[in-house]
Symmetry: C2
Subunit: 368 residues, 2 copies
């Protein structure tokens, strides 16, 4: 029988409630100030209670990647759900149909092929499913390039059962810039390219109402590009070492830490914690940072989490036996918080050093 | 409401039942042939039903890293559980006490400090908890070095409430060798060092009954070192691209694949699958291989899974639009199967192309 674990049983995730609330407030302010809608990506927290908190802060709706995430959010009564992911295949379309019974769903797509499945579903339900054309502004992941957008956009708009309502991008390539200024410039360029493209599509007769852009790191720059209508940041609720290293977060705004225990100090230059890749993930910091290691040990800036195996984290540290004790707790700011949360069943909401409540990561593992 | 998903709703994990059974049989044969006990590490499958299958194949007991894994296995009636991990702190000791009510637990430790907690627990229960001294034979993770073993072993043996029954190592450093022959030689050297150390400790009066060693990649070499009493391989049940690349597995013995769907072909040189780091993990292949990418696409040896974001996998491929279709399924052999399974709630046991049953990954996420 599984006992209820405590917030001191490590490794586990602690959320600093005050820091999280400030993060939510700040991004809501950015969106309001820039006059754009805020549609947070819930991939970061995967928790309906936190999505509801984002809506209380004025978010128009939420963004998800997978139908499984949307199902969990719809279970909590969230109605306005954008799936920023191509929906492909009979299984997915059947599940989407059920989701549409209880939520207002819009979907991003990047091909007429993928749009056809949605078109058939829309026709069978005698409605037009709102879709946004995904644009590749430089990340080279999914999405059509701006020169391809008109012909594919027209192809989608011509289909019955779907309504092309906008264009959408994730300007994640901005993070490949070496400096924050460079990232902001790249983000603004992406925003401008999106707005220009929307105008071009409108001139060609497409009714592009929305210009939706993404990313915590770029939101504060791209939201102010005139013509952008929506931002979809995700990580901002917690931030992480990536955002901190880029310069859009600080130690104080990193609201989620991993509480770990030193379980072994087998050498003078090595201490071992009870969190490995099954807790912290193997995600490294983004390429431009040049920084190594698997997270930041709070209070110990000279210590590197040099290696991980599945359940062990190896700290490189001078005078390990003087510095640490077996059984000591440490707090780690993870490199990339989203996949770390996705490994946890629960997070603990901490306020003034006390555990206020447990937050269930109900959409954890919902990758389908 | 969550619908029951099918084995064709991607991304999901497929187990080739025949390949898995052959893998189980082969390692059972190695152990029997070498005259050592087999105590599989269940970190790979995290599924009680598969642990029970390993016991049916003659395993003496199981190995786990965390108490949470042990709890799940004990729930399934498994009695002989070795925790190859230092148990540190009040929360863990309280949970260990409950676990000991229903299973025979032995524990590996590498310090007198960690042994003291176990000693108090053992005394309070008027029994001696079996412990094994963890030895660092070269991996430089946890464990004492052979020269330190005698004094620490004596310190542990002198404590009431614990019984030092053996020594234990994980010779994972053997995988840093450039060749399989090199890895086997390093494994045999580690085995010999363990046997020699056991003899030295015995001469000094310690009652070392067990010499336990680990690892799928090294088991077939180290099991035959005279004096070794137990092997603890984990990955062998499924194998993965790491084991295949090292040379101890083949495509045919890689029993677990990730079924994915091509969701976008946005460029002639790129196809995108619906599995990213939240499915395949960011684990790369071990350093000596020099190979890149995030898994092997079956039937497409020239295709590289070049980049992952959380829910996208970017395939580098020539003539992507001729080669693949949107909606097409692909099967991927993951780099490192253990953390991949740890991201899944279920696996599908496939036989002759049919889904025989769903296997719940009940110890998924049990990192505490």
């Amino acid at each position: 029988m599984q006992v209820q674990l405590s917030h001191l049983d490590t490794p586990c995730l602690h959320i600093n409630a005050e820091a999280m609330e400030r993060n939510l407030q700040e991004m809501a302010h950015v969106a309001a100030d820039a006059g754009v809608a805020l549609r947070p990506h819930v991939k970061t927290h995967k928790s309906p209670s936190l999505a509801l908190r984002q809506l209380e802060y004025g978010a128009r709706g939420i963004t998800v990647a997978k139908i499984g995430e949307a199902d969990v959010m719809a279970d909590a009564g969230i109605k306005d759900i954008r799936i920023a992911y191509p929906i492909v295949g009979a299984e997915k379309l059947a599940r989407l149909a059920k989701l549409m019974d209880r939520a207002d769903v819009s979907i991003s797509i990047d091909s007429v092929d993928a749009a056809r499945g949605l078109s058939e579903l829309g026709q069978s339900r005698k409605k037009r499913i709102p879709v946004l054309l995904k644009i590749n502004t430089g990340l080279d992941r999914v999405g059509v390039t701006p020169p391809e957008a008109l012909s594919i956009g027209k192809g989608i708009a011509a289909l019955p059962g779907v309504e092309l309502v906008g264009i959408l991008t994730h300007e994640g390539h901005a993070l490949h810039e070496a400096t924050l200024d460079g990232a902001k410039r790249a983000a603004r360029e992406a925003g401008k390219a999106m707005v220009d493209l929307a105008e071009e599509l409108r001139k060609a007769g497409l009714n592009i109402k929305e210009v939706s852009v993404g990313s915590t790191a770029t939101a504060r720059a791209i939201a102010y590009v005139p013509g952008v209508t929506e931002i979809r940041p995700g990580t901002y609720i917690f931030n992480d070492l990536n955002e901190w290293t880029i310069g859009v977060a600080t130690e104080e705004t990193c609201a989620l830490t991993v509480l770990v225990t030193v379980v072994s100090i087998p050498a003078e230059n090595r201490a071992v914690i009870d969190a490995g890749s099954k807790t912290l993930t193997s995600d490294l910091l983004g390429p431009p940072t040049g920084k190594k290691g698997y997270g930041y040990v709070k209070g110990h800036p000279d210590v590197t989490i040099a290696r991980l195996t599945e359940e062990h984290g190896m700290l490189e540290v001078k005078d390990a036996r003087k510095r640490f004790k077996i059984g000591q707790h440490l707090e780690i700011v993870p490199n990339h918080v989203c996949p770390v949360v996705n490994l946890a069943d629960v997070m603990y909401l901490m306020r003034n050093g006390q555990c206020e409540r447990q937050i269930d990561v109900l959409a954890r593992g919902k990758n389908r």
